[in-house]
């Protein structure tokens, strides 16, 4: 019977026992090994290209690995010196703070706007829903590299459509030769705008899908009891969607911290490091300054911060039954 137990389908626990293959000890051992044999190639690849580099990152962060080490392969063990160095470095602390602010702003905007759009999708005619969904999917699908280059073009100082529009609207006076990318706050603002724009469809469509699962009868009952829109939000929509909202928030935090391409392509972290976040800082330290050891320690700090969120994510998933 142990055999049938092992073969029980994971997702259908109450569909009745499976008619197991004929008993026999050899067969049993083979079945026990079979799933591992099927997973082995995937695990091997993951260990080689994700596990080993991760370990390497850890050991690298405790070493003085400079340009010379690249050729000699020699590097000195310096313990936690890289970490004490970065944590006493004003630049690094500014980067850390900036990453937190960037993430906070991006995630807040994404969640609030995404929720509003998903709500909007519920209350429109079918044709309007199709139009909005298609527009969202197009944005979602656009490759990040292409989106970033288009952003560059739209905010080009002389011929960009954004400056022309802003000048026409007379909001900030003459913007016709304004160079967004040479102003620290504005450059970061543009990157945030790009990140939010690009990430919004995923949040909105996921929340819309989740919202569709809530039975309309709940709302009808609430309406009969005289509940207003805000009350229905507070007492029906938000509580039921809390797990999805939590998972999306965690994912967006992780993705915002990880964001690299838009920043690197738009500003390379400039002007004067004003748009450098953790990922970009790790990259610059390692590859532009050839300080692979300290670059690795910056990366390790990033990984540790994200690990906290990842653990929260996994716990959420298992509570939902996705990681059984």
């Amino acid at each position: 019977m142990a055999l049938t137990e092992k073969h029980r389908p994971v997702r259908a626990p109450d569909r009745g026992r499976r008619t197991g293959p004929p008993d026999g000890r050899r067969r049993a051992r083979r079945s026990r090994m079979l799933p591992w044999a099927m997973i082995a190639p995937a695990l091997a690849a993951l260990l080689l290209i994700q596990g080993y580099p991760l370990l390497r990152l850890l050991t690298l962060s405790t070493r003085e690995f400079g340009p010379r080490s690249l050729f000699t392969g020699q590097s000195d063990f310096i313990g936690l010196d890289n970490f004490t160095r970065i944590f006493t470095d004003a630049d690094f602390l500014a980067v850390l703070l900036r990453t937190v602010v960037f993430t906070l702003v991006c995630v807040t905007l994404l969640m609030v706007l995404g929720f509003l759009i998903s709500h909007l999708l519920m209350g429109v005619s079918p044709w309007a829903r199709v139009v909005l969904t298609v527009c969202l999917v197009l944005v979602w699908a656009m490759p990040m590299v292409a989106a970033t280059l288009v952003w560059q073009w739209m905010f080009q100082p002389q011929y960009g459509v954004a400056n022309w529009l802003l000048t026409r609207l007379r909001l900030f006076g003459d913007m016709s030769v304004y160079d967004w990318f040479s102003h620290p706050t504005q450059a970061l603002g543009l990157i945030i705008l790009l990140t939010v724009w690009k990430g919004l469809p995923f949040v909105a469509l996921t929340l819309f899908a989740a919202r569709g699962q809530i039975s309309e009868s709940l709302y009808e009952a609430a309406r009969l009891d005289g509940a207003g829109t805000l009350q229905m939000f507070r007492h029906i929509t938000i509580p039921i969607m809390r797990p999805v909202l939590a998972i999306l928030t965690i994912l967006e935090v992780i993705w915002s911290v990880n964001s690299f391409t838009p920043i690197w392509v738009l500003t390379q972290g400039g002007p004067d490091g004003a748009t450098t976040t953790l990922g970009v800082y790790a990259y610059i330290t390692a590859f532009s300054r050839n300080e692979y050891g300290s670059g690795a320690s910056v990366a390790v700090v990033t990984v540790v911060i994200l690990a906290l969120f990842s653990v929260a994510y996994v716990r959420r998933l298992s509570r939902q039954g996705d990681v059984v």
Partner: protein
């Protein structure tokens, strides 16, 4: 324009009016959201003189393909297309084969360590690419894998694996076990059963998953940028970005090239849109 939501005549008018307002808001949101996509295509289709004009032209007319021809004529364009396609397609095919086995194992067997495997799959996706690129670079460097397309294939394959396993697992879960049981009872071998029963039913899921994996590898910039040093080995994203660092940017050609780069992905997404939204809600997916 809209259908009344309730039959009671007293509520019909306000409900309908609210819906009309919502539709209007939805159209405004659509227009704002889709504008950059539209602007990419519109710019690509403009004449050169219309691109660099003080007053932007919102409708590209007369339509001109000169930006596209200029982009295609850039030295090496077809090499970059070929590099991108080779790397992306090989990594997707390899990761699909590997992950199909793993996904079936995870979905259909309950074995010791299964939970650990699942958690590893989720956690591994969270490690930032900007952090991993340092050790991967040093690793590939020490084995002579820099500037070598297979090195990139291996990297992409592994980075896509957690996602493809995770999503395929969901699709395998969606296939009723009874079908497999019936095949086994009818005397099918296990392998034969997978090929004849499970695989055909999984096809839509495999298509959706591979498209998503394709997009992930197709759009990667950082690994290709670090690992591929000589221009002959550039992939499309690396080449596209190198466009803008040249002295005077040819915006027309750059945007046309971006359009060419985006079109396969945009088309794929529109085709599998519904399946993606459903599959994403449960899984951990890189955006």
């Amino acid at each position: 324009m809209s259908t009344p939501t309730t039959s009671s005549p007293a509520r019909r008018t306000p409900a309908r009016r609210r819906r009309t307002v919502n539709n209007a808001i939805a159209m405004a949101v659509s227009a704002v959201m889709v504008f950059p996509v539209y602007w990419m295509v519109a710019t690509a289709l403009k004449e050169r003189s219309d691109i660099l004009s003080a007053v932007p032209k919102f409708v590209p007319w007369p339509i001109s393909l000169e930006n596209f021809t200029r982009a295609l004529d850039k030295p090496g364009f077809w090499t970059f297309v070929r590099n991108s396609l080779t790397v992306t397609v090989s990594s997707v095919v390899l990761s699909l084969i590997i992950s199909l086995f793993a996904a079936i194992a995870i979905a259909r067997f309950r074995f010791a360590g299964r939970r650990a495997v699942l958690i590893i799959l989720v956690l591994v996706q969270m490690v930032p690419a900007a952090a991993m690129v340092i050790p991967v670079y040093l690793m590939l460097r020490s084995v002579g894998g820099l500037d070598f397309l297979p090195g990139l294939v291996l990297t992409y394959m592994t980075f896509v694996l957690p996602f493809t396993i995770w999503t395929l697992r969901g699709f395998v879960d969606g296939v009723p076990v009874e079908l497999e049981e019936a095949a086994l009872v009818d005397g099918c071998g296990r392998f034969q059963m997978y090929v004849r029963v499970l695989l055909p039913l999984l096809m839509p899921g495999i298509v959706a998953t591979s498209i998503f994996a394709f997009v992930n590898a197709w759009d990667d910039y950082i690994f290709a940028y670090v690992i591929m040093k000589s221009q002959d080995n550039y992939t499309l994203p690396v080449w596209l970005v190198s466009f803008k660092t040249s002295e005077s940017v040819d915006y027309g050609a750059m945007i046309a090239a971006s359009t060419i780069f985006s079109i396969p992905v945009l088309v794929f997404f529109l085709l599998v849109q519904r399946r993606l939204v459903g599959g994403m809600t449960s899984g951990a997916v890189k955006g």
